[in-house]
Amino acid sequence: MSARPAQPDTGWVGPTSARRGEACHELRLTIASDLAELARVNDRMTELLAGHDFEESVVYAAQLALEEALSNVIRHGFDDPRPHEISVLVRVERPQVEIQVIDDGREFDPIAAPEPALDLSLAQRRPGGLGIHLLRSFVSEMRYERIADRNALSMRI
């Protein structure tokens, strides 16, 4: 996983930590509905997971699940151009990682989304449709709720 130059944080809630020197177990963030935020979210999550000695496959799956979930919300979840806030929670509960994404976009249950046709020829393939499928392929559990006009998606790796 490549490192990016340190950026000043603006309006981000940092990881919680019980005592100095202990590994953090949780990361809570509120981000804008902007694809440019994905890199920072990924960096912060990767930093959290690095303190817990997860296998590369777990870190990869967590990065993919988070990227696809956020990308889907940001690109397809809103009907208006105004900025929205998305809440992200990453919690380490060894041996698993739990990721939760909460947004106020239009109602969308990724668990119920139809599977894309993966046996199409190149000529038949259209852009899109793979993100949710990849997310489902790499997580072990998913839970979706619609609560007070918000989508709450929880994933475990």
């Binding site: 996983m1 490549s2 694809l35 994905l38 890199a39 990924n42 590369e56 496959s57 990869y60 990065q63 993919l64 990227e67 696809e68 990308s71 993966l118 046996d119 199409l120 020829s121 190149l122 000529a123 393939r125 852009p127 899109g128 793979l130 993100g131 499928h133 990849l134 392929s137 790499f138």
Partner: protein, 112 residues
């Protein structure tokens, strides 16, 4: 994300990608990648050995290039993806439509 041209002659475009094919990585190289592989259509080989991560947007970039090349009667082959990248490609069904080779010679054979 970096793109390096390893060979670009009348019969083959051979490109190596290095880094993460996430949203940011695709934004960085997509235009150049599509330009190098499709503006003058010919056989294409894409070395993924240096790619540590790929998400759906990265897969869409590869599909777009391969589709355009196929329209002109040419193939694309992907070379030496790392295990987790290979797993992602296979989860997307991409290996059914873009061949994946583990060695350069095998890739060249697949392009015949």
């Amino acid at each position: 994300m970096r793109l390096k041209i390893l060979r670009d002659d009348e019969s083959l475009t051979y490109i190596a990608l290095h880094g993460r094919l996430d949203v940011e990585g695709v934004n960085e190289i997509q235009y150049e990648f599509l330009q190098k592989t499709t503006w003058v259509p010919k056989r294409a080989m894409v070395d993924l050995d240096g790619v540590s991560y790929i998400a759906s947007l990265g897969i869409s970039m590869l599909v777009s290039a391969a589709k355009e090349l196929e329209r002109h009667g040419f193939k694309m082959v992907l070379l030496q993806p790392k295990p987790l990248v290979q797993k992602t490609l296979e989860a997307s069904g991409l290996h059914h439509v873009i061949p994946i080779a583990t060695a350069e010679m095998a890739a060249i054979e697949l392009l015949r």
